[in-house]
Assembly symmetry: D2
Homo-oligomer: 258 residues x 4
């Protein structure tokens, strides 16, 4: 034991034995979902089944958003130079930052601020939302998680909240997020619907995740999407092509039902 | 439409409508697993249910391997400088390379070489394995996917193959991988069991994935593990500490059953 | 000209003609130093000769600090996985962050705060230093740029300031930095000498660089050092070795004079 | 001393004393150039003065190539998401890969192959060039370092070779590179002039650098260019803008002389 001895509470590795948070990995395989493993790794405990399903739906909702997000464009740019998969994925991950994905964490902070006013100051949902909105407006700040550059009625948000209700995950934070939308309309006269980042923020609050990890959920969700785009670049395009950021046409399968 | 117009077959994005490979994202949410989405993104079609379960088990098997892999150590080193999540995850991803994760892709190539000898030259499993092993030995090359620095009877391999049998995914490539182990023992006198990389390689061959994507499965699987370690570093350790690569003690929950 | 047309003022590229900030690259080659090019790129004009020498000395001062900085350890960790040069350098760059290199930018802000008190409020150097120190102490913040974990009389700082005097670059900001050291001793009773980050901060302030770019100087300086360490790892060490963060012995040339 | 004890021959760090390859850093400052430090770090010895000037000219020649290279576009894409400097620079570095910068290393291998035929088989420059060209053509491979997508008479190449002659660095490898150009014209009927990558390759061969490090020179040279573009993005453009890869207009200073 050296002076640099340190401790970690995540995975115990012994010869022919691996246990994550106390559970043997081979016992977990085939019995728990990847989404449950995400929860186990990040919170230390296996989630109730419905909570696992909620994580799963969040990940599925964010798996890809076409070719235009900067994470895809930076990954494709790197891939087009002949760089290996890991370099291209890393460049994609590096784009998941303040203005791309970052809204989840910022919206979690907004909702936590509102919830503190409810818990500590006895404010109602509407009063709390109003107070936080006015604070942000006074500081000249935008409220992250509301409004979207493409969608004004994001089907992912609607579905996430429907599933959250069905799974019993929706609670005070979902109510508060809805109160924000309503109060913003009254205060600003503008309809800024909750976007998918805002919806995920509300649900991560419900499940009591550390806001530091918010962007992490987005990264977990997006890696398969990044890989699909990088693979397409490497198999379908010429190296070093000029990649137009928006003049792209979808030519995949026609719309189809499950 | 500019001269740089290009096409992509992955996700169609329209206002209030998102479809991955033709399936509306909000219809997929709550009905398909993240593992099925990985398959849909990387292969273009939804997998049969059991194939989805196989992907899920592969991802669960590789989600973490404690603090010693270089992907974790590079991520922690970056995290300890106060860098944000994305920089630390990217540094982890950059370590998933030739000698760390790379064995999956190399082992897929080995198995494909063997399978070609079977299909094109009419060799038996044993003859094909023998031929490839002798080729590699003649070139002075190690066979990736066999042997492990910690485990000689990796419980993840056993479980992956048991699940592959149960799910109907195990076939010729799994047989061939086992033939390699048997022939290597005869030829070299050494027992080099299939490791988890080799098992995953055989299963990705069974499911007909492009070997270029092999390391990608490892990346998808490991991001939650990296996040757990980065979060632990940021919440439990002091910035800029000297990170010992092996003098680490597990102090998480005792072994427990599902 | 598309709707995405944009402008850049850095380099004009035409067939067989390249001009940086208006100067033809082939005319610059052989006549200006790399350090002068750094200034030209980042400020838009060629520097006076002595200012170019100042930049050169700053870069030379920060080119390497042995094996222990996290930038080197993350680069070596990635290099040991067989990853190519670019991945290892990128991992090193990702470690140049808040607690590693970040002190330069933070110290520039501290000095700018002090200088504003002098310019706008008519305070003396000592009064300005005292006010800023007290502000930071009241907020419980450390003053970046002062003190070092290894050196208490950093020879690089002494030399940088001697050169700055000789080159005519030293001015009000250098005086202010020295006033901070003196006032901190009076206020706290502790001697916290200016470290190399603090010295560079003062000189970048003298040359009127944007603090956003501070870490950039550190990156420029360190890339050759990172490359030397990565090359040593790849040529002298076995892949996937466990890299001890401090139990390293120098075995290069004995001390020698120019 | 632990079992993980290791050695490094680069920099000795003691309290108040730092020596690179045996030379005290504060003695180097103000007396040697950054380019000489690059040589010292990567080769272990200080270069003759003219060799240092050669390195300097190589670095100056490659410091920037406008907005269109993928290293700049990936860096800008990441910067536009609000990511800090280190993430954007790292994304730029990750683009310096096989098809972008990689030609230097590949061309060094080509020249080394030719030189071996001269040294070991007694071939003339022309015979050696012919043999290597024919080998590559038989394998269906392009010869890296010859031809450029923008320039057919790159002023940087001409100047680099003129300086190499003046500095006494030009020798057999420069002659061989020229022989390649001449023989390719005879063999293929096409004029493929040596590009800047090819010229740098010849000069790095003359100075006996390890080809593994070739891309490293390009990285060292480009970091200031990347920083200038990232800074322009952060100060002149809106976050999350769509970055057109070629519809860019130079609006910097008019052409001017030194």
């Amino acid at each position: 034991m050296s002076e640099l001895h340190w401790k970690s509470a995540i995975t115990k590795v012994e010869p022919n034995k691996l246990a994550v948070r106390g559970y043997k990995l081979d016992e977990l395989m085939g019995r728990v979902s990847y989404a449950q493993m995400v929860y186990l790794l990040l919170k230390g405990e296996l989630p109730p089944e419905n909570t696992g399903k909620m994580i799963e739906a969040i990940l599925v909702s964010s798996v890809d958003h076409g070719t235009t997000p900067p994470s895809v464009l930076s990954a494709l740019t790197v891939a087009s130079t002949g760089a290996p998969l890991n370099a291209a994925v890393a460049a994609g991950i590096l784009s998941i930052s303040q203005f791309h994905g970052g809204a989840i964490e910022e919206c979690m902070h907004i909702l936590h601020k509102g919830m503190e006013l409810i818990k500590n100051d006895g404010k109602t949902l509407d009063e709390a939302a109003t107070a936080v909105i006015n604070d942000y407006r006074a500081m000249g700040l935008k409220l992250s998680g509301f409004g979207h550059r493409v969608h004004n009625n994001d089907p992912r948000t609607t579905k996430l909240f429907a599933l959250a209700k069905a799974y019993g995950v929706a609670g005070k934070y979902v109510e508060l997020a809805n109160a924000f939308v309503a109060r913003m309309q009254v205060i600003t006269g503008k309809t800024l619907p909750l976007n998918v980042d805002g919806a995920i923020a509300a649900l991560l609050c419900e499940m009591d995740f550390d806001p530091i990890l918010a962007n992490g959920f987005f990264m977990i969700a997006r890696v398969p999407g990044l890989l699909a785009h990088i693979h397409e670049e490497k198999t379908r395009q010429k190296p070093m092509r000029k990649i137009h950021p928006s003049d792209v046409e979808y030519d995949g399968p026609d719309e189809r039902s499950l």
